[in-house]
């Protein structure tokens, strides 16, 4: 079952690679002239064209591109002078830490909120849920982030300056996982841990506010549907306890559509990540891509797009496997 699902991901990955190849080759103007720089003459442009393989037919270029990808070669960034793959790998943990903390935060809030709203329709918590859902989908993440900075940094003065992962008074913890919270905990450096957490709260809160809405909405809707279904009525008629019905039967079934929604939420989160990283000067791959975009560093941008797509495919794969593990009807054989 799991192997079958992994096999299904292969054509998607191939499609992703084709599209990202087309994106790299659709650069405005002549990429060779672009990479040669403004001072280049015709001969050096031709030389670069040959060096980049741009004089070969498109199909052959595609296979060269795929071959490079196989060896993890995404080209060289013009602005940092480093291989793009290395840059991305160095910055990925920052983005992942932010995204994961935000998603955990939003699940911890949204799922109970949705469940409570569904079990007490018409109560204040139901209305709160509705307000959160409607406001949440209308809020531009970059704007929420700026408002949070204004309130918690400028007005209240409780949040640190929105300048990256760690205040300069702390040394970054020894790199093991690249997640500051985990690394600092491993090193037993709780002061740095607290410093990293302080920096993380606002950006993660911004992202969480953004993802709260779809998760809460889906939880509420699927919980309502589960509670009105026949098997719940049967369970009630059989005299099972309220708690058992709610969590043992209804919630377990209601979780399935929520997990499916998480896939879509991931897509939004990875996009919103870019904006949040820019607002909070978070040194992740999103702000790397934004910096690259500003200076037209195309290899870096396309590497970023490809990396995000592969990450998203992998996440969807994991979600599907979790789904199969939770859903009793899909047997893992």
């Amino acid at each position: 079952m799991i192997l079958g699902r992994v096999a299904q991901a292969i054509p998607v990955v191939m499609g992703v690679v084709v599209i990202s190849f087309l994106l790299t080759r659709a650069l405005p103007g002549d990429p060779a002239a672009y990479f040669a720089g403004p001072a280049a003459d015709a001969a050096s442009i031709a030389e670069i064209r040959q060096a980049l393989g741009l004089d070969k037919p498109l199909i052959q270029q595609f296979f060269i591109y795929v071959g490079d990808l196989m060896t993890g070669d995404l080209g060289t960034s013009l602005s940092t002078g480093q291989p793009v793959a290395m840059d991305l790998a160095a910055r990925l943990p920052a983005s992942l830490e932010l995204t994961l903390v935000a998603l955990i935060l939003s699940c911890v809030i949204a799922i109970p909120l949705g469940v409570l709203a569904a079990t007490r329709p018409g109560s204040w918590i139901d209305h709160l849920c509705r307000v959160v859902v409607t406001a949440g989908v209308s809020m531009p993440t970059f704007f929420t982030g700026i408002v949070l900075i204004y309130v918690f940094y400028y007005l209240a003065g409780v949040a640190p300056a929105p300048l990256g992962r760690l205040d300069f008074i702390y040394l970054s913890p020894p790199q093991i996982t690249g997640f500051y919270l985990i690394d600092a905990a491993i090193a037993g450096d709780w002061e740095t841990w607290a410093g990293a957490l302080k920096q993380l709260v606002l950006p993660a809160g911004t992202l969480a506010l953004f993802t709260l809405a779809p998760i809460a909405r889906m939880t509420r809707a699927s919980m309502l549907q589960a509670l009105s279904s026949d098997f719940i009525r049967t369970a009630r008629a059989a005299g099972l306890g309220r708690r058992k019905i709610l969590y043992g039967y209804a919630f377990r079934n209601a979780l399935l559509p929520v997990i499916t929604t998480l896939g879509m939420v991931f897509s939004f989160t990875l996009g919103a990540n870019v904006l949040v990283e820019k607002v909070f000067a978070w040194p992740g791959i999103g702000s790397y891509a934004v910096e690259a975009l500003v200076v037209s560093d195309y290899a870096a941008v396309q590497g970023f797009v490809l990396a995000m797509a592969l990450l998203f495919v992998a996440l969807n794969l994991i979600i599907d496997i979790v789904y199969a593990l939770i859903d009793p009807r899909i047997a893992l054989g």
């Binding site: 054509p11 970059f142 704007f143 700026i146 940094y153 897509s267 941008v301």
Partner: protein, 292 residues
């Protein structure tokens, strides 16, 4: 309308009667319609009504907080934030409407063809849509703009591309379940060509859910376009646009000049909120069961 007496008619029988009934029942939808009218009004007449020139700088009155003179304050170059916010409505709405219209047309074509004829065409289209959906959509839009070039038109194309799957899938599903329906076969039997049956008999059935999708999508397209310009793509300063204005204001938020970022941000939120409300309201009119 015919003159023949129709004794059993109720106000709710006609489409307009139904709409009026739903609107009476749900004043929020009415409010949403009103807000859309207001935004469209801003887009049409805003540039000629605003009190100040949105591009006129005035160094003597830079970074002033909101006052009677400048309702939303002035920015770091002394430009009137209120005028800029209102004038920006036209550009932001144009981008999102154009993008949604493009994806509506392309998505309808692709979805209708693959839903009606099926076969390998359908399989290829599905693979293609799966591939688009395999990208985080905002990231794909960034990549498309980076590849095509950093212009407003390309923002529109990028936003359209990432929206196509939603329309294509919706139309494909609606067409697919009706292609062998009685009315379609009757139309076919009466001598209509496949194309005609598809375009005039089957496709119109997909329009109501499509309208809901359009409305929800408009809000999302505005957010998307504003997000792209927030990171410096597409619209270039000094053109007033909500995303750029928030980005410019972000530099001043840490020193307490909140009005530069907050007002364009609020306006953006208002626009997105309006279209989301409208979408929810339209869904209630089209399909009351889907209410959540």
């Amino acid at each position: 309308m015919t003159d023949s007496p129709a004794p059993e008619r109720h106000p709710g029988d006609t489409i307009w009667g139904h709409v009026a009934h739903v609107l009476r029942d749900n004043p929020v939808t009415l409010l949403a319609f009103g807000m859309v009218a207001f935004l469209v009004g801003c887009a049409l007449f805003g540039p000629s009504l605003v009190p100040h020139d949105p591009l006129a700088t005035n160094a003597a009155r830079a970074l002033e907080p909101p006052s009677w003179d400048h309702w939303f304050g002035t920015d770091n170059l002394g430009r009137d934030v209120f005028s800029r916010v209102i004038v920006a409505t036209r550009l932001d709405l144009t981008i999102s409407v154009a993008a949604v219209a493009l994806s509506f047309v392309l998505g309808s074509l692709l979805g209708a063809v693959s839903g009606y004829w099926g076969g390998w065409l359908d399989a290829v289209l599905n693979r293609f849509l799966d591939t688009i959906m395999a990208f985080p959509l905002f990231v794909l839009a960034m990549g498309v703009v980076a590849a095509l070039g950093n212009t407003v038109e390309n923002i529109i194309y990028a936003t359209a591309i990432i929206n196509i799957p939603f329309y294509a899938r919706l139309v494909r599903a609606e067409v697919n379940i009706r292609r062998h329906a009685g009315f379609a076969q009757a139309a076919k039997l009466a001598g209509n060509s496949d194309l005609r049956v598809l375009a005039f008999h089957i496709f119109p059935n997909a329009l109501p859910p499509m309208m809901v999708q359009v409305s929800l999508n408009l809000g999302w397209a505005i957010l998307n376009a504003a997000g792209l310009s927030f990171i410096g793509l597409g619209v270039r300063p000094p053109t007033p646009e909500w995303g750029i204005m928030v980005a410019e204001g972000a530099n001043f938020i840490v020193s307490g000049e909140w009005w530069m970022a907050v007002f364009p941000g609020l306006w953006l939120m208002l626009a997105v909120f309006t279209f989301n409300l409208l979408g929810d309201g339209l869904r209630d009119i089209v399909d009351p069961r889907k209410r959540t």
